[in-house]
């Protein structure tokens, strides 16, 4: 009987192997390719536009590809402004802000998830309530704070706040994740003589890796694209981040000026390159992030 069943399985596998690609697979993959192209189209269009002349950008019907690729656009885009410096500034800010977000949010989340103290739920609710505060409300008080500390026109205001609890969203996300981890693990470690910081660092944090990665990825994207904070705090072009620096290539209709769209496209491609690298190297976490948070970053 058992032999027969095993034989059936072997035969089925063999058939599947011999059958090769099924028609449904072809349809499925074709559909996937079409969808991928649709979703990639905006980026491909940006890439193509970055290699066109200004006149080509305004042709009708718009050509899909440039007649002669203008790689010079990239050279001009880099030479006109301190592009490399801006990308470096962005990387520095993003890394420090993300690190601060992940570390401080997880500590706050640990407190909310594992300790019982008077007013805990109230504090947690207040923390969540800050999600409803628009950034503009806290902008000026925070600006005054950093001004008093003589930190205007430095990169500090762009990342230091994230070392003081991150933001409510990340605290909430990590708290919810921590609550799914059985408290038995903490208790076992405590019985073995571990301190609370050790329980947090050695036991819980490694188990939170998926949630931490999610926070890191979302924080990275948010920080990379952040425009308002650097706009307010930075005055010297050399200290700009890339999101702010790209505004150099924006044309404002009421102010006229020469068309810069081709350079804007080239600069944009360069600006999103680090995000692309991050995406391909942490694709798994992105997917987890979407599943865990319901956000696409």
């Amino acid at each position: 009987m058992a032999t027969t069943a095993l034989g059936e399985v072997a035969r089925a596998r063999s058939l599947e192997h011999r059958r090769g690609v099924r028609p449904t697979d072809v349809v499925f993959y074709a559909l996937m390719v079409v969808l991928a192209l649709i979703f990639m189209f905006p980026f491909l269009w940006t890439l193509s536009s970055s290699l066109k002349t200004v006149q080509e950008l305004f042709d009708f019907p718009p050509p899909l590809l440039p007649k002669v690729p203008q790689f010079r656009n990239y050279v001009v885009a880099i030479n006109t402004v301190p592009m490399v410096r801006w990308i470096g500034n962005s990387v520095l800010v993003v890394v420090l802000a993300t690190l601060g977000t992940v570390l401080s949010s997880s500590v706050a989340a640990f407190s909310f998830a594992r300790f019982k103290y008077r007013g805990r739920d109230l504090i947690f609710m207040l923390t969540l309530a800050t999600l409803m505060l628009p950034g503009q409300v806290t902008l000026i008080p925070q600006f005054i704070l950093f001004h008093e500390m003589n930190l205007i026109d430095t990169l500090y205001p762009l990342w230091v706040p994230f070392w003081f609890g991150g933001t409510a969203f990340y605290i909430f996300l990590l708290r919810q994740f921590l609550m799914t981890i059985p408290a038995d693990l903490d208790e076992a470690a405590l019985i073995d003589g571990a301190s609370y910081p050790r329980v947090f660092w050695t036991i819980l944090l490694p188990l939170c890796k998926p949630a931490l990665a999610t926070c890191a990825v979302i924080s990275f994207i948010n920080q990379w694209n952040e425009f308002n904070t650097p706009l307010v705090y930075l005055n010297t072009p050399e200290k700009f981040t890339i999101a702010l620096g790209l505004s150099f290539y924006r044309n404002v209709p009421e102010q006229g000026g020469m068309p810069m769209q081709h350079l804007l496209m080239a600069a944009s491609v360069m600006a999103i390159a680090p995000c692309l690298v991050l995406f391909f190297s942490a694709q798994r976490y992105f997917v987890q992030g979407i599943v865990l948070s319901g956000l696409k970053g």
Binding site: T53, R72, L96, F143, T236, P253, Q255, G256, M260
Partner: protein, 489 residues
């Protein structure tokens, strides 16, 4: 001596600490020289308008950066002096000036440097302000008392900053040292006043974002239609647009959308002899002012009756340079840039926007200006800098290099301007004509941004014919009046 063992953990920890230290230092960093700024955008060869193949087209504007400007040259020559200690060995006066980040207004950096070079007793710091979002930053700087000694503004935001006490009244200073007030376009100077006091000096002015009409001469020729002349009216504009529209070829007679901003629509109201806002700027008059109703009807008919301009869905990707628009409505400041996108595709020309039924033209009196911070410790020096940045020499330089519409009559009328395009001479006549109606229509409660938002949300469905005309007019009127009824900001 026993070897000291470095553990892997220890080494990684040390490396992490070192990296953190480097990062912390990099975040603050020694400030670069304050006058450093990105180089002026060098136009790619592909962007320069071709002079061949468009003999009649006014494509003779000099390329940006082609000539070394007087201020730029002065800055280059005198920069070392600026860095030298002040004469007499005294401490330098620390001053700050705001400059734009846009390549379109790079003149501010060399001009500020040139002034610093002439004033070695001043340590001038240039702070870059992103034009599109400067109001938000200005508010933060004002709140912390760190606004630049000399800062720029635009007519849209100027009254708000002035009302918050951020600007120094310049009337007394102009009596001591006249910056050449008589030379400024009167409407521009008027736009720099708040509650009767002069709060700024203008460096730029123009009559509106759609008041220069660029025509595709090749297309006119192909249709056998005569080019319009400067004395044309809005009705003639409509008729011409209808004749030029060719649905089969997907070519539109015009892309006019003067309803995009309420202040641009105001220019048609003015031209029709009325005004969108009441004289006390407390009432919105879209449905109560007969001239504004006529102006609205004209624009509605252009899109919906004559079908000579595209509706909302047809505007995507529609540009004059694509050859799909016969008459393109632009601002005088946009002509040079639009010309660059055309290259040698077709011949074109530019003329003043149409007049109203009585020969009037409207102007929304757009002005950009430099102000002195109310709390500056150095009002005379700051005023001197503001005067320099709005002086004739600097404006001529910014006009030649970047096509900035100047605020001084002498620059509009200069030979340099006429060489670029005769339209400049015609525009200054328009702007200084006593019959030209203005000024910029600010609501009395200074809720400009909210009014503009409401207008955008309600005017588009109206003019695109998505709601019946009467219903759309009422919705727009009610929404805008509701904003004007709110308390003063």
């Amino acid at each position: 001596m026993p070897n000291k063992v470095i553990t892997r953990r220890g080494m990684l920890g040390s490396l992490a600490l070192s990296a953190a230290a480097v990062a912390l230092v990099a975040c603050g960093g020694a400030a670069p020289p304050p006058t450093e700024a990105p180089k002026a955008a060098a136009p790619a060869p592909t962007t320069a308008p071709a002079s061949s193949g468009a003999a009649a087209a006014p494509t003779t504007a000099p390329a940006a950066g082609a000539a070394t400007s007087a201020p730029a040259a002065a800055a280059t020559q005198a920069a070392p002096q600026a860095a030298a200690p002040a004469a007499g060995g005294g401490a330098k006066i620390p001053m700050k000036v705001a400059v734009w980040e846009m390549p379109a207004r790079q003149w501010m950096t060399p001009a500020s440097k040139a002034w610093a070079a002439k004033n070695p007793d001043v340590d001038l710091t240039l702070e870059v302000m992103v034009y599109n979002d400067f109001a938000q930053k200005q508010l933060a700087l004002l709140a912390t008392g760190t606004l630049q000694d000399v800062f720029y503004s635009g007519i849209k935001w100027f009254p708000t900053t002035a009302s918050k006490g951020g600007m120094l009244a310049l009337d007394d200073l102009t009596k001591t040292k006249d910056p050449g007030l008589d030379d400024f376009v009167p409407a521009a100077l008027q736009g720099c006043k708040f509650e009767g006091k002069l709060m700024a000096l203008p460096f730029e002015t123009q009559p509106g974002n759609y008041n220069a009409v660029m025509i595709n001469k090749d297309y006119f020729d192909s249709k056998g239609i005569k080019y319009p002349t400067e004395d044309w009216t809005y009705e003639q504009f409509s008729e011409l647009a209808a004749k030029l529209t060719d649905p089969a070829k997907k070519i539109w007679g015009t892309d006019a959308a003067l309803f995009s901003n309420y202040y641009d629509f105001t220019t048609i109201s003015y031209a029709y002899g009325g005004s969108l806002l009441s004289d006390d700027a407390k009432k919105f008059q879209l449905t109560t002012d007969p001239a504004s109703v006529k102006a609205a009807q004209w624009h509605y008919d252009l899109l919906n009756k004559l079908k000579a301009a595209p509706l909302r869905g047809d505007r995507d990707g529609l540009t004059f340079a694509s050859g799909r628009v016969a008459m393109h409505c632009d601002g005088i400041q946009g002509v040079k840039g639009t010309a660059a996108t055309i290259g040698d595709k077709f011949k074109w020309d530019v003329l003043s926007g149409p007049t109203g039924p009585t020969g009037l033209r409207g102007s929304d009196g757009f002005v950009s200006m430099y102000s002195v911070y109310a709390k500056t410790k150095y009002p005379e020096k700051s005023f001197d800098l503001a005067s320099y940045l709005t002086s004739k020499d600097v404006q001529l330089d910014s006009f030649v290099r970047e096509g900035q519409p100047p605020s001084r009559r002498s620059v509009w009328q200069s030979d340099e301007a006429q060489k670029v395009q005769p339209i400049w001479g015609r525009f200054i006549k328009w702007m200084t004509d006593p019959k030209t109606k203005g000024p910029f229509p600010h609501p009395a409660n200074l809720r400009f941004a909210e009014l503009q938002d409401k207008w955008s949300n309600t005017a588009s469905p109206l003019f695109y014919g998505e709601v019946p005309f009467d219903q759309g007019m009422k919705a727009c009127q009610d929404a805008c009046q509701a904003i004007m009824d709110l308390p003063h900001v």
